[in-house]
């Protein structure tokens, strides 16, 4: 059972074993889901593969799946300003947690969803969380989705996060996705796909930072099938140390639609970044653009901040912080 008022108690009828939330989990919840004080709306916290606590709200119902591990989240049609927090924490080595979460967003609903996963691995065995998220947006609905990934812990065990996200945007619906890998994730393979009906709008911002020996691969694939659909992919990354990043965003236009892919990476030390943006038009009316740039931190930006009194190291950190802000 949760022992303070800041983490909501499990709702009646919640399934899965209930786990105490220790200090490490609480800290990680702050980092990945901004959860401190009272968290408004519906909440589902998963820890080491089990349900830790759950609350439903007036317009959001969370139920456990019966076939697979995971949950179904139903958001009522027409509801406004609903909040849903469904963070995951892994604090034990050797855990390989796979979870299937499906979001059903009713027509005209307006909802803010915070997911995210924090792994604290103090041991020498790997810890892995693979979240498979699917979103079904009914016509006219609007979703803001924020997902933060974070790893920490003194052990040599890897911290692995392999998220798969699938979005289906119905007519006139819109979604803003912000997916951030803060730091400490040893290995990640991210797959994000989606389809957009007429007049649907998607803006996805991906921000990634790797260091040490880390690897990150991100594949994004969106197809616009209806007239008036728009997709904007913004990817910003910083690769330090010996880390390796591979990006492969693709936007397909099969109607009178507009797509824009923009990848910017800062490369440092002995890192390697491969960026392969693609655009694919299946209609003469599709307007698709891609831009990709990889480079070191601009010397003139460092110089400018040094003329304002920052040391070279401070200037570098400041520039990286803003780049990923």
């Amino acid at each position: 059972m949760a022992d303070t008022a800041t983490i909501p108690a499990p709702a009646q009828g919640a399934t899965g074993s209930e786990v105490d939330l220790d200090a490490i989990s609480r800290e990680m919840l702050e980092v990945i889901a901004d959860m401190h004080g009272d968290t408004p709306g519906a909440v589902n916290i998963r820890k080491n593969g089990c349900l830790a606590c759950r609350t439903n709200s007036e317009h959001v119902t969370i139920t456990s799946k019966t076939d697979n591990p995971g949950i179904d989240i139903h958001v009522d049609a027409g509801c406004k300003n609903e909040h849903v927090h469904i963070p995951v924490v892994v604090t034990e080595e050797g855990v390989h947690d796979v979870v299937y979460n499906d979001f059903f967003i009713g027509a005209g609903a307006d909802v803010y969803i915070v997911a995210g996963c924090g792994i604290h691995n103090g041991g020498d065995k790997d810890a892995e969380h693979d979240g498979i998220h699917r979103f079904f947006l009914e016509p006219g609905s609007h979703v803001v989705y924020v997902e933060k990934h974070y790893g920490e812990g003194e052990g040599t065990g890897a911290r692995i996060l392999n998220p798969t996200t699938e979005v289906h945007l119905g007519e006139g619906s819109s979604m803003e996705m912000e997916m951030v890998q803060i730091k400490g994730v040893s290995s990640t393979i991210r797959k994000t796909t989606g389809t957009l009906e007429a007049d649907a709008k998607l803006v996805i911002t991906e921000k990634l930072m790797t260091h040490g020996e880390q690897h990150a691969t991100s594949d994004l694939d969106f197809e616009m099938v209806g007239d008036g659909a728009t997709v904007r992919v913004i990817s910003r990354s910083v690769a330090r140390g010996n880390s390796v990043q591979v990006f492969h965003p693709n936007v397909t236009g099969a109607a009178a639609c507009r797509g824009h892919v923009q990848c910017d990476s800062i490369i440092m030390d002995n890192a390697r970044v491969t960026s392969i943006p693609a655009i694919d038009a299946k209609s003469t009316e599709a307007q698709l653009v891609h831009e990709a740039a990889i480079g070191k931190i601009a010397g003139e930006a460092i110089t400018k901040l040094m003329t304002l009194g920052l040391t070279e190291e401070e200037a570098e950190e400041q520039i990286l912080e803003d780049f990923l802000s």
């Binding site: 930006a301 400018k304 920052l310 070279e312 400041q318 520039i319 803003d322 780049f323 990923l324």
Partner: protein, 255 residues
């Protein structure tokens, strides 16, 4: 407050140079600047004005000679230490930053992390940026050249260094903002009698404000004196030497 002794800056063949010859960009230049003065540095394009200011700020290091600031030898001092001693430089071509807000840059410049938006706005309006809400804009490609240039000047105003160097502050700035800018420089000069302002400029109006004018040509001080001595000698001729046909219109000055 500032003293340059026999300063030279030579770009060695092959290094940064565009060809395989040595280039003497600043040649055995000596210069003393008294505190509290507003000095305008002018002279033909390529004469070495920007290089000279970069040497003072520490962005380039002299290949010979010494530079001292308020009695401290700063010849080989890193940029940030000079900044902390009280030297500031507004770049001729300002840098852009992805993801940095204008308000953040101004706060960094001022050294006050929690400076209020109203205080930040004061520096923006001093350079004529008051119409839209610029504080929340990113200092990136989305800013026009003139906007970026004015934000650059605002950072120096926020920093308020003992020695402020502005490299062609008027370049790319519209007439209305230019009016505001000259008034700001005038205020700055009158309001702080111990602060020194060095402005690199080709603008008559700015030269008119100067206590002193220094003409830099071929990496050397070609002429120096009070505004009344030097200004009349900078004949603003209509009939330029055809050999100088490549100089900009704003340069329609015979040095």
């Amino acid at each position: 407050m500032l003293e340059l002794k026999n300063v030279s800056y030579t770009v060695k063949a092959g290094k940064d140079s565009y060809d395989d010859r040595d280039h003497d960009i600043i040649r055995d230049l000596s210069l003393t600047v008294e505190p509290g003065k507003l000095i305008v540095i002018t002279g033909p394009n390529g004469g070495g004005k920007s290089t000279l200011s970069k040497l003072i700020m520490g962005i380039e290091e002299p290949t010979a000679g010494t530079i001292s600031f308020e009695g401290t030898d700063i010849t080989h001092m890193p940029i940030d230490e000079r900044a902390r001693l009280g030297i500031g430089y507004g770049f001729q071509q300002p840098a852009r930053f992805t993801g940095m807000k204008v308000s953040k840059l101004i706060r960094i410049a001022s050294g006050e992390k929690h400076m209020s938006s109203a205080a930040c706005n004061k520096y923006l309006s001093a350079v004529g940026l008051c119409s839209a809400n610029y504080l929340d804009r990113d200092v990136d490609k989305s800013l026009s050249g003139g906007e970026l240039k004015r934000i650059e000047i605002a950072t120096i105003l926020a920093r308020n260094p003992k020695l402020a160097i502005f490299d062609e502050p008027e370049a790319g700035i519209d007439l209305w903002s230019f009016d505001k800018l000259t008034a700001t420089f005038e205020e700055l000069h009158k309001g702080q009698p111990d602060h020194t302002i060095l402005i690199i400029s080709h603008q008559e109006r700015i030269m008119q404000m100067a206590d002193e004018i220094i003409v830099i040509k071929d990496g050397q001080v070609a002429r120096r004196g009070s505004r009344d001595e030097i200004y009349p000698t900078l004949m603003f001729s209509k009939n330029q030497d055809p050999a100088c046909g490549f100089t900009r219109a704003a340069e329609a000055v015979t040095y």
